[in-house]
Symmetry: C2
Subunit: 332 residues, 2 copies
């Protein structure tokens, strides 16, 4: 019978060995060695080591991530705006009187150049028509269906495959070290929540985004329903990001990741919380594998002033070209 | 050397025994046996058993709790309103011109009867003056100090000792079974967040409450600050509760606890989500150990219509008098 028993000692030795192997594995295999990768490794090590001055207790380990341009592709247009454009025919089918009315007429024409030139008020009309007026359950079902079938114009792949593998590794690494990972996105909170858990491992309750009001009522059978209203509660961009963090999380992050002027205030707010802080910005300088945006890009604007502030304040700029060994999981 | 080794087998036996002892312990020792206690035990057992039709996957295990009157005393006045009243002298010291202006004059008089009769618009003026205009950090520090020193007029104890021990046990029992416990309170989100983790084990990011806007700016030294503004974003009461749940959690709860007409919509919304649902209402019928409110009570109103709806829909009414063996932890 003796052989059937492993001693506790042997068990512990085996456990220690497995543990050592796990530690030897690189948690960020899609990153090239360099200051950006090293900063992440050093930060997580310091903030989880009780003997380190920068130790952060588990309950305060909050890391926030912008989405568009930080964890997935935002060119040539934000994915959610693409969704809204592609929903216009459905909306017009229900309300034919919109067919000859701008901006719906332009969207129906399919002329991408004209669509790209739509003004902000016109864009707002399209967003209101396609993102509100239905129940929360209906909206979720529509987005889910779209996200499964829509394809990015350049790669002809689902948008959910155009996530940055290096950033998925960062999120996973943070979570493995007791961090709660949150999205803090200018995108619609309800939109991102539909796929965030499956794609990024971020549950709906950890998605902070631009949010509209809902109306509580009852359907014909007396069943309670929530209807999405064209009433803005939180514009989760720029100064709205720290406001959204306070509203939805109620704690200051210790690490924050962004890629544009829309993330500046979030990084400032994070940094002001104490010494153990990590602020990083993804810089799109890889026109071959992804996109290289100039400081005047309509989406993901990275101004010279932002670059100057990053240098001055010690925020780390991630070069997609130099710091990322591969960008997408489908690349070999 | 042999004696120094425990076999894995022995280890497993010891573990199984410890586990059996844990299971034999009553998770709700402050509850009398009866239908309310049994409903909680049955619900948690069913929703965590993968072979049960009512099984709820771990990520969907969300339980929401009203605070005032559901998890702590709300008489003779909501604790937060008490805070606001007691802050009035501080506000008036900074703005002496308010001294002779209503409603501040009445509050300064200390006449409790007159204070209890203040109109809703007057109350709003007091709330705006005492809850907004300062930075988030200043507000948190003020509430923390007050909550440590203020005493309830009847028990002469800190408000944080006037929490219902049976409800603390319910929260702990839910969490031990993989549930995330949330407050969904008509009280101020920022106010409750100050003590919720320490008193109830509910972290700030799991407090949904009445919420106002903040303004992001910089202080004289260039440090980013958030200032509390008198702008209502979410009135987390009645229909506002499902709206708040959608905004802040983005998932429908599977269990919800309340005590008044303010919780009706939250319970309806919870119940509409499926078959594995638990809706409970604390009923204040114990004038000796706590309070017995009639259906016309100004706070925690429990109308006859609510009682009728509870009976019709199978919501379980908790009798404080009959279902709770003890109400407060300080009782022996």
């Amino acid at each position: 019978m003796k052989k059937r028993y492993l001693t506790l000692h042997a068990f512990l030795v085996a456990f220690a060995l497995a543990s050592a192997v796990a530690h030897a594995q690189d948690p960020l295999p899609s990153w090239n060695d360099g200051p950006a990768k090293q900063a992440i490794l050093d930060f997580v090590k310091a903030t989880t080591d009780p003997s380190n001055q920068k130790f952060v207790p588990p309950e305060a380990r909050i890391a926030t991530f912008d989405q568009d341009g930080t964890t997935w592709v935002e060119q040539p247009m934000y994915t959610q705006v693409m969704y809204c454009m592609e929903r216009v025919p459905v909306v017009v089918a229900k309300k034919p009187e919109l067919k000859d009315v701008e901006p719906f007429k332009t969207v129906l024409s399919g002329n991408r150049e004209a669509m790209a030139k739509l003004s902000m008020p016109d864009l707002m009309k399209i967003l209101a028509a396609t993102l509100t007026g239905m129940t929360v359950d209906e909206f979720n079902a529509e987005v889910k269906k779209w996200i499964e079938t829509a394809r990015h114009p350049r790669w002809k792949r689902p948008y959910t495959e155009l996530v940055y593998q290096p950033m998925l590794e960062v999120m996973k690494f943070f979570r493995a070290n007791g961090y709660k990972t949150y999205f803090v996105t200018g995108g619609g909170q309800d939109f991102v929540r539909v796929y965030s858990e499956q794609v990024y491992g971020i549950p709906p309750e950890q998605v902070v985004g631009t949010a509209g009001g809902t109306n509580f009522g009852y359907d014909k059978s007396g069943r309670p329903i929530l209807t999405k209203e064209p009433k803005l509660l939180l514009n989760d961009d720029k100064a709205g990001k720290p406001q959204g963090i306070h509203l939805m999380i109620g704690r200051r992050p210790v690490a924050a990741f962004g890629n544009s002027v829309g993330d500046k205030e979030m990084l400032e707010y994070t940094q002001a919380g104490g010494s153990a802080r990590l602020m990083m910005l993804v810089y799109h300088d890889d026109g071959e594998r992804e996109y290289a945006y100039g400081p005047k890009s309509k989406v993901g604007t990275f101004t010279d002033a932002l670059m100057a502030e990053a240098k001055q304040k010690g925020w780390i700029v991630i070069s997609m070209k130099n710091d990322w060994k591969r960008i997408f999981a489908f690349e070999q």
